[in-house]
């Protein structure tokens, strides 16, 4: 099915200019331009707000969507920041690409156009990011190598695990039971940690009480409750789908340490027994939280590594996301596989010469 929003390149350029000049976009750009200053700089006209009990205020609705790649393209070497011109260009390209992008981007047969549903990142308030990559440590902006044992585990999972990457659209879908589907298709878990750019609606609601920070992820309305009271982590034989978090303030930065991950549901298949994730939340201006995470799992990566994902403020509210209650994915993928099984079985019977009436 052709993308009905595909236009010739000349018309596209005109459309882009028209889009970029619409009041909403211009307003977003103005907001974005303020946020595009060097991430650590404090805008002198802005005062960090505080909650009534004195915590730096991280509250509100935020998106983690981004045009910035996870790993740094080799051409930038160890350069952490783009020039203003480069940043604007990448942002423009991101907007343009959104008209071509679909969620299962199979060449010329797109599934559907994200912009129709106002789901593209720039429509959700993502600001230009001056970083060359999300990964900031190691200094070359790439994720460290896997340990040999982790590489083996990942290769085995690629062969037998759920077809999460949709790498080959022509490969038969293995869906014998629900465990052949990925965690999202089973409505089991969304939202990290760490917080990463998602496909769409990668939105969060943060609220703070005197003793806790609560992060609600839109997908599944998944909660992460982060106690600030210095209580010990859960015992090591209790596991959590989002791990078990404890937070404290260091100046204006919320530092969160998470352990007790659940085997089989870890970030990039890391080892639940040894994985520790540290997160740092700093509100750098009215519209931006600088969010940094450090992944530490010596049995999976040869050294810890860190990334910075800007969280951009968006308008609320977040609606209910009743996943299990409406899980058509699980039903349709499994039912489709059964229909394919049946078709294959009937074809085999025909070619084997068994009369149809004897089936």
């Amino acid at each position: 099915m052709a993308n009905r929003f595909w236009v010739s390149s000349g018309a596209l350029a005109t459309m882009i200019v028209a889009i970029l000049l619409t009041p909403a976009f211009v307003a977003a750009q103005a907001k974005s331009a303020a946020a595009a200053k060097a991430p650590a700089a404090n805008n002198k006209t802005w005062t960090l707000p505080h909650t009534p009990d004195g915590q730096p205020d991280l509250q509100g609705y935020w998106t983690s969507l981004s045009f910035t790649p996870m790993e740094r393209p080799a051409k930038y070497g160890n350069r952490e920041f783009l020039t203003d011109e480069e940043a604007a260009q990448i942002y423009k390209e991101g907007v343009q690409h959104s008209y071509e992008f679909t969620f299962n981007d199979f060449g010329d047969t797109p599934v559907y156009d994200a912009t129709v549903y106002a789901l593209s990142a720039w429509q959700e308030g993502v600001a230009p990011n001056r970083r060359t990559s999300l990964v900031v440590d190691p200094p070359d902006g790439t994720i460290p190598p896997l340990t040999p044992e982790a590489a083996k585990v990942r290769e085995a999972f690629r062969k037998t695990g759920p077809n999460q990457d949709y790498a080959d659209p022509n490969a038969p879908v293995k869906a014998d039971t629900s465990t052949d589907l990925n965690l999202g298709e089973r409505c089991l878990s969304f939202g990290g940690p760490p917080i990463l750019p998602g496909a769409y609606n990668s939105d969060f609601h943060i609220i703070q009480s005197p003793g806790n920070v609560l992060i609600e992820y839109e997908w599944g309305n998944e909660p992460r409750i982060i106690p600030l009271d210095g209580s010990p982590h859960l015992a090591s034989n209790i596991h959590a789908w989002h791990g078990d978090s404890r937070g404290h303030w260091e100046g204006n930065t919320l530092v969160v340490e998470t352990t007790n991950f659940r085997p089989g549901a870890t970030f990039q298949g890391a080892n639940a027994k040894t994985l520790k994730i540290k997160e740092y939340f700093t509100r750098v201006d009215q519209n931006t939280i600088e969010y940094k995470f450090t992944i530490d799992d010596p049995s999976t990566w040869t050294k810890p590594w860190s990334a910075i994902v800007p969280l951009s403020q968006i308008k609320g509210p977040i609606f209910e996301y009743a996943c299990t209650e409406n899980n058509n994915d699980a039903v349709n993928i499994l039912a489709g596989a059964r229909a394919a099984d049946k078709a294959a079985a009937e074809k085999a019977k025909k070619t084997s010469g068994v009369p149809v009436s004897q089936k």
Partner: protein
């Protein structure tokens, strides 16, 4: 002699009469149990709930109901659960005194038939990729969102996190998250439910020290209990959370649904603060326990 006998009798009786009067006087004078006395169920000494820095009553904490209402909100006996030949006492359901004020839910006569049909088919699970998946089967069984007020009387704790503009309740059951919008005239939280949902659209405010929550915009698929008590999309719930001691919130919910009931009706029961040191919610991601129940008919080998 007779006069003396009468006098002695009267004299002998006097101490008992005096003692009896004193006890009655004591009970009459006691409007609430003294701090050192064993508490009387239903009575609390006067209590002023601490306020947060923004001046609002502080409801933060982990709370839990200890009634058997999830099984049946009305009075009911204990009963064998499903498959008693395997489950024995593990699967049996406790009896309980009802939480419905006045005792009985005021169904319209024609609406009572659906309650009975629900109960008969509470374990008939037939999942399709359309709303017919809701025709039968208790949503709790399927690990669906339990709705309001059932979420508050499930046998699981829940955590109230209260900020200036929002109260979020996270229920241990299925990590269900419910948002109560507290800000007046909040442009990010319209007064009317912008979309229907399982937990409804909740606006809250304080009346004195009572949190009042007004919820509408419900889908018609949740039940009030395993006995098949149900509602329509006209459901309107008003809840009142009143801290009664450092360890108790007295909870009540008024249920108003003119499509199903002849009048509004109320449930009420205490919520207890979980007092274990280092208490926190532990994952009960029941989605993983219902996969075979929900999708088994679509498995390649339904026996696996």
């Amino acid at each position: 002699m007779k006069a003396t006998a009468v006098f002695v009798f009267l004299f002998a009786c006097t101490p008992i009469v005096v003692q009896a009067q004193t006890a009655v006087q004591q009970r009459a004078a006691r409007t609430a149990p003294a701090a050192s006395a064993i508490p009387t169920p239903g009575q609390f000494p006067p209590y002023k709930v601490p306020h947060m820095a923004d001046g609002k009553p502080d409801l933060n904490g982990i709370w839990q109901a200890f009634v058997a209402a999830d099984i049946d909100v009305q009075d009911h006996d204990a009963q064998a659960g499903p498959h008693p030949e395997i489950m024995g006492a593990y699967g049996a359901w406790p009896g309980g005194q009802g939480i419905v004020e006045g005792g009985e839910i005021p169904y319209k006569p024609e609406a009572l038939e659906k309650k009975k049909a629900n109960a008969e088919k509470r374990m008939v699970v037939n999942i399709t990729s359309d709303p017919h998946r809701h025709d039968t089967g208790d949503p709790e069984l399927k690990c669906y969102r339990p709705g309001v007020p059932r979420a508050n009387y499930l046998p699981f704790p829940f955590q109230i996190t209260q900020s200036r503009d929002n109260i979020i309740i996270v229920y241990e059951f299925g990590h269900v998250l419910r948002t109560i919008y507290m800000k007046e005239n909040d442009p990010e939280a319209p007064k009317e439910a912008p979309a229907d949902s399982w937990l409804g659209w909740s606006r809250g405010h304080f009346e004195g020290d009572t949190l009042v929550v007004d919820s509408t915009g419900f889908v018609p698929y949740t039940w009030f209990d395993r006995a098949g008590d149900y509602h329509s999309d006209a459901l309107h719930v008003i809840e009142r959370y009143t801290p009664a001691s450092p360890y108790h919130i007295m909870y009540e919910a008024t249920i108003d649904d003119p499509k199903v009931f002849t009048r509004p009706w109320k449930v009420s029961f205490p919520l207890y603060r979980r007092m274990e040191k280092n208490i926190q919610l532990v994952d009960f991601n029941c989605e993983e326990f219902v996969e075979k129940l929900l999708y088994g008919p679509y498995f390649k080998d339904p026996s696996k």
